[in-house]
Symmetry: C2
Subunit: 452 residues, 2 copies
């Protein structure tokens, strides 16, 4: 192979050959990700990777590298990364690797376009519109009426809700600034996602996976004319399940909803929607009428241009992978996926609730896939309750987690919360997970933690 300083400027065949060699690296990576004899990660400290592993340097240079070296760089980037699609990766709300979703992402990046106008993204703009309508129907808004947009993640979606609520009550803020409004107040649960604080409303607290009683909150909001935002970034997926959607009863009374298909529904990152019950608010709140982008005198119906609704200018195409997965699974496919993940969580709950050395962080069956628990090593089991036990227990989860990462066998999250010392938070959103993977996790916690 020769290196051209402007690769692929004319789609030369050697660059296509290069692309196929990358595909070969990627498909091998995918195959191994689903193979449980493969490690979840090959951990290195920052200074180790910065010093440069053999043949892999992160430094950028003035001169070009050969395409052979670029292939090595691709292999090494994957080698030192984390396999978030591995059936034993439980570390985040987003996990798994759906092949249809992946194909959708590859097509999206090949199309390399931008959502702001129908003119340059006709198909994607319509897919977004139809999918948002479907999501609003599932929320329960009459005929799926309302508005919405895909944004770069739940935090930005929540920020939209705050901006739209402010615009609804004090539209003059848009022109006159914050001094045009009285001091505004935002009520949220103690356990809400931290983006809510940044954006100044949560319905399935991020750590515990419990659901707030939406109907009771909606009663209060209606009484005092308050905007009700439901942050269903993580919980929204349960709307797809006839068995579990009752946990979100009352969501149809919300003024706005955040719902991230990239979490519970297994869609590749990023895919987050903000849905608004009243039509026109997004446009009213965010439009700036930039004539050089959104010309009113085009030959097509320019109400399909979405750019003026967004706080962004350019906007990544997040819809296609989701639309393609929906086509391929059908609504019932998502339902099966959700039901299965919740069954597995219930399996974990029953497995450990009376098991020696485990303590649940809160009582009762999990409402979502979140199972929060302490593992108490034998050396702590006989200690009397008190500050010493608390302090020692606080150090257990981080130690086990560090060993897991060094071994590369599995990953699960931990955190403290309020007055509770570090506990494990198990979450399941990957359809590749089986009961044997849950068993493996518990065995591994005990193997690594028994001598602590």
């Amino acid at each position: 192979m020769v290196t051209d300083l402007l690769p692929a400027k004319n789609g030369e065949e050697y660059t296509m050959q290069f692309l196929l060699e990358v595909v070969d690296i990627l498909t091998n990576y995918v195959r191994k990700t689903f193979d449980r004899s493969t490690k979840v990660l090959d951990f290195h400290h920052p200074h180790q990777l910065l010093e440069g592993m053999e043949g892999f340097s992160l430094e950028l240079c003035d001169q070009p590298e050969s395409l052979e070296q670029i292939l090595v760089d691709c292999r090494d980037t994957l080698k030192y990364g984390v396999r978030t699609g591995h059936p034993r990766f439980f570390n985040q709300l987003s996990s798994g690797l759906d092949i249809i979703g992946l194909a959708g992402e590859w097509l999206t990046s090949t199309a390399n376009t931008n959502m702001f106008t129908y003119e340059i993204a006709p198909v994607f703009v319509l897919m977004e519109q139809l999918t948002l309508k479907k999501m609003r129907e599932i929320i329960g808004w009459p005929n799926g009426e309302g508005d919405g947009i895909f944004s770069p993640g739940g935090a930005i979606s929540n920020m939209y809700s705050v901006m739209v609520a402010r615009y609804k009550h004090y539209p003059e803020v848009k022109i006159k600034g914050m001094t045009a409004a009285p001091r505004l107040v935002l009520f949220t649960s103690e356990h809400s996602h931290y983006s809510i604080k940044k954006a100044s409303a949560t319905t399935s607290p991020t750590v515990y996976g419990a659901f707030d009683p939406i109907n009771e909150i909606a009663d209060i909001c209606e009484k005092y004319s308050m905007w009700l935002h439901v942050d269903g970034a993580w919980g929204g997926g349960l709307l797809m399940s006839r068995k579990h959607r009752h946990k979100l009863n009352g969501i149809e009374r919300a003024n706005s909803v955040t719902w991230n298909p990239h979490k519970m529904m297994g869609v590749p990152l990023q895919c987050s929607a903000i849905l608004v019950r009243e039509k026109g608010l997004l446009q009213g709140c965010n439009s700036m009428c930039a004539g050089y982008l959104f010309q009113p005198d085009k030959q097509y119906d320019v109400t399909y241009d979405t750019g003026d609704k967004a706080i962004q200018c350019g906007r990544h195409v997040d819809i296609f992978k989701f639309w393609l997965m929906w086509k391929s699974k059908g609504t019932i496919g998502f339902e099966k996926h959700i039901d299965r993940c919740l069954e597995l969580s219930e399996y974990l709950y029953h497995k450990i609730k009376n098991r020696e050395g485990y303590e649940m962080v809160f009582e009762g069956k999990p409402q979502h896939t979140n199972v929060c628990f302490w593992y108490i090593p034998p050396s702590l089991r006989l200690l009397p309750d008190g500050e010493e036990k608390r302090q020692r227990l606080h150090r257990v989860a981080p130690k086990i987690k560090a060993m897991m990462m060094e071994c590369g066998t599995t990953m699960v999250g931990y955190q403290p919360q309020g007055d509770k010392v570090n506990f494990f938070r198990m979450v399941i959103s990957n359809p590749a997970v089986t009961r044997s993977d849950i068993d493996f996790l518990i065995d591994e916690i005990e193997r690594l933690g028994q001598d602590l």
Copy 2:
């Protein structure tokens, strides 16, 4: 092929086969994109696509589709889309299709991870850090010191600058809200990007591609202790060129800079950086210390966790494609790309400046690749200057553009600006463009516009 309701839950071989069939569709698409006998687009109105083209329905159903149908959906999505990588697509600041960048995006979506912690994105987090440092060195900040982050586009990057500036001058706003600050003022050019208005400062106005005198503005900002933000979303790319970077002289005096590699540097969407001269401000401004995500008691150096700097929680991996392109081209490859695009713009300028039927929107050689001009059809050339001529000229560009899109031969943007009626704005960022493509555009404008 059979359809599984949970595709690829275990990396089954038939799903890998499906993925390779998608790759075949995509590589054929790429080959045709660089073939000038292929149309730029196959235009349809929204209602036509919504009614459903033969075999292609956008509607989502309860039941799954077969994988064969999914392949048809992929082909049709591309068929009815716009080829933004086509050498005759001049419609946006982002154009072209770099194969190394594309390979980078495919790898990124295969890795499917999230930038918020080193824990789950060790390699990408370090690549981001090193690349941001390199960008700060190129801006001219001593030793590349400072801070920065990749964000989902220039509008969000500009929003960061406003938030960081406010935090620097009124840190109490973070805790107490906007009532803790006096009324704040933001000065910007009349021709700045509209996101600047949404985020409440521009250096290469988006339409004209002219550069503000940064040194003179910096003098004023220093005198009055004002925050200087340079929006180099579009113009920043010129920093890579020894020949053209003088147009941004003084940028090293800015407090913050927006720079979008996804525009002039040909990196696939999305890739936008906000760079801040003073270290610690991003973290100070945005940190919420969410213990369940950013645990301080991990086994590695947690200063590498980036999540607490971002206004987002989850954050897409935008760095890898850019890093890989930089590796493959070297700094000198980006320089050649920039120089070449500016040469082509100069070629266009010289071609039309004295050509019959053309009028430039402003005097002098273009400073960037933006060339703004009116095409005046023969029927208008003899009309006296006045309101009638203005009104008729205003309708010319939209008509030509609409015909271009119907023919599918090329695309170029137009807009009015201030008291100026609709004019064409030609921009070049695709390295596949040649002089013959510029000639083609001019021929096409004349072919379509001569009888208007």
